[in-house]
């Protein structure tokens, strides 16, 4: 169920790589834990993010949670559709529910992330 070519973080963010551009969102597991998302706070374009720095917050009916950047870099775009339709994060977390696009500063950050197989194994550990 998790896309094969994405990288995953322990905080349940995913990143899809396209050249030096990364698209970032949260995983299906994360959206399921959060419940219905009602608001997404996103950073401005041009914001410089460090590895594991808070991108913004996701508010659901149950909780408010930080989303952390899985890599360092500069925010070049955010998903404006989420302003009107935060439910995209619940419905299509791995594609249309993406949150930001980032120009990656340091590709070596990707080595700190998990492959899909590692992430699935990681989830098994949590769910036990």
């Amino acid at each position: 169920m998790f896309p094969k070519d994405y990288y995953y973080s322990k905080d349940h963010e995913w990143i899809k790589i396209d050249g030096d551009i990364g698209t970032i969102g949260i995983t299906d597991f994360a959206q399921n834990q959060l419940g219905d998302v009602v608001y997404v706070e996103m950073p401005d374009k041009g914001t410089q993010l460090e590895f594991h720095q808070s991108i913004g917050v996701i508010e659901s009916v149950k909780a408010v949670s930080d989303v952390y950047s899985p890599v360092s870099g500069e925010v070049i775009e955010f998903n404006e559709k989420l302003n009107e339709s935060p439910e995209l994060i619940n419905q299509k977390p791995h594609d249309e529910g993406w949150i930001i696009r980032i120009k990656i500063k340091d590709e070596s950050d990707l080595q700190k992330l998990m492959s899909v197989d590692e992430y699935e194994k990681f989830l098994e550990g949590i769910e036990e």
Partner: protein, 489 residues
């Protein structure tokens, strides 16, 4: 059940509560010229007195309150509010005093504030207190402002506040509004602060640690002296969220744990009305190092005369009009005096006993993520029921059908699907048993008829609400619509 119509919907032109007689002396309309007068408010409902009274009385009967039954909202301490508090606060010399009355005519009321501050300092083991903050969140903010004022005064402004993941949800917000960055400290396997994580993050940039003790798992931070030691040795302050003070009352004191500043919620621990029945009050108590920064005015006594001191150059200034929520302080003082030291300790003892009675009675039926002994509240999760497709929300909604207010849900975040139950000392064994029985029934229903839970509540004025829709598209006030059906949906 018949749905109560809005007053707008039963409005009939020309109806009113009462009529004044016609003016029988000569009037002079020119006197009112230029004033913003109007004869009618557009769309204001026109109804008779009896219609208004019945409307609100019927609505009030759909409500639920602590005078009606158990209200086990974890970390909210929804205890019974003794009626003697209201009797004292309604006494004319107390309720009729004007805040602008001269001090020499207000000595009795000033003494109430003065004595109450001393009692709160004694109960918490602190050196001084301020009754100014209107509620817990303002108390938290003031506490952080005092820390900031002191650090800046000593030329050491810092940037970050550490907050454990088991702390109260308002703490990060208070620190953020005070201009600090937030760093979360993890819990260890027992649900207590991970000391190693604290040590790692306790740098010279850290202004304070905000600790809730007992934390939102109801677990006492037994290493609290070690924790305060680590923070102090790095030049930081320890702020304690006193929302869970009901567990400690008369047994141990934050001051003796080397806490520097804490707030209390009079509407929790000290039995004044909570929520819509408020207003609240969030006094702040400090150690002497923070005393110079307390907000204005500070109540002082000299030569038998009590007065308000305003000449305090280091003070953070005014944080609220006049003297805080004075009548709330009166009610809380009445509570303290009617219980006495022994009674206050019994409050904590029975609050802890009641919570543990529930915990022990339900631990086979509901999952306990942390087995560490807990004090005044216990946190179950929906893990067993989740396998049957039933969530903590369904359990909470079903409890309403058993005429019990649902517990705090989905908090703390470290327990997924949390049900945080705090019965307080108020409840008798019979009422606790009724609650336990309801929870057992619900656990059984989850196995035998999960649909019953998923569609709950069944016995209420309104059924399951669409919380997501309410959060995404809140309708906060009535608006005139051309189609009458629109506004009823």
């Amino acid at each position: 059940m018949i749905r109560e119509p809005l007053l707008f919907d039963i409005s009939e032109k020309g109806k009113r509560g009462f009529r004044l007689p016609e003016l029988d002396v000569p009037g002079d309309p020119s006197l009112l010229k230029g004033l913003p007068l109007r004869t009618e408010i557009e769309d204001f409902p026109q109804v008779s007195e009896v219609e208004v009274v019945r409307h609100f009385t019927r609505l009030s009967k759909t409500n639920y309150c602590v005078d009606e039954g158990l209200y086990p909202l974890g970390s909210c301490t929804m205890k019974y509010n003794p009626k003697i508090n209201e009797v004292i606060a309604s006494m004319k010399p107390i309720s009729y005093i004007h805040p602008y009355a001269p001090e020499e005519l207000s000595q009795g009321n000033l003494e109430i504030l003065y004595v109450f501050e001393r009692y709160l300092s004694e109960i918490t083991g602190m050196d001084a207190a301020s009754l100014q903050p209107s509620a817990g969140a303002q108390g938290e903010l003031l506490g952080m402002m005092l820390i900031r004022a002191c650090l800046e005064d000593h030329g050491d402004p810092r940037k970050t506040v550490l907050i454990p993941d088991s702390a109260h949800g308002t703490n990060p917000s208070s620190a953020h509004i005070c201009g600090y960055g937030i760093k979360e400290i993890h819990s260890d396997g027992s649900g207590r602060i991970d000391i190693e994580d604290l040590k790692k993050n306790m740098t010279k940039e850290v202004a304070a640690l905000m600790v809730t003790n007992p934390n939102t798992l109801g677990v006492f931070e037994s290493d609290i002296k070690k924790i305060t030691g680590i923070v102090h040795s790095n030049g930081g302050f320890v702020y304690m969220d006193g929302a869970n003070m009901n567990a400690l009352l008369g047994v141990c004191r934050p001051g003796d744990m080397d806490v520097d500043v804490l707030h209390l919620n009079l509407h929790k621990t000290f039995s004044t009305p909570h929520g819509g029945g408020g207003p609240g009050a969030g006094p702040v108590a400090v150690k002497s190092g923070l005393e110079p920064y307390l907000p204005l005015p500070v109540i002082k006594k000299d030569n038998g005369k009590i007065f308000c001191e305003y000449d305090r150059p280091k003070s953070v200034g005014k944080v609220r009009s006049f003297y805080g929520n004075f009548l709330v302080a009166v009610k809380a003082l009445a509570y303290i005096l009617s219980l006495g030291p022994k009674g206050l300790r019994e409050v904590a003892e029975f609050a802890v006993l009641n919570s543990n009675y529930i915990r022990k009675s339900l631990d086979e039926h509901y999952h306990l993520q942390y087995e560490t002994p807990s004090l005044h509240e216990c946190v179950f999760s929906d893990k067993f029921q989740k396998e049957l497709g039933v969530s903590n929300l369904d359990i909470a909604k079903r409890l309403i059908d058993y005429n019990v207010h649902p517990p705090t849900m989905s908090f703390p975040l470290i327990v997924h699907g949390a049900l945080m139950i705090e019965p307080t000392e108020t409840e008798s064994k019979r009422d606790l048993d009724n609650f336990i029985q309801a929870m057992k029934e619900i656990a059984r229903e989850a196995k035998e008829n999960p649909t019953l839970l998923k569609e709950a509540p069944h016995q209420t004025y309104v059924r399951r609400l669409d919380e997501t829709k309410a959060a995404r598209n809140p309708v906060l006030k009535w608006e005139k619509k051309s189609d009458k059906n629109d506004r009823q949906t």
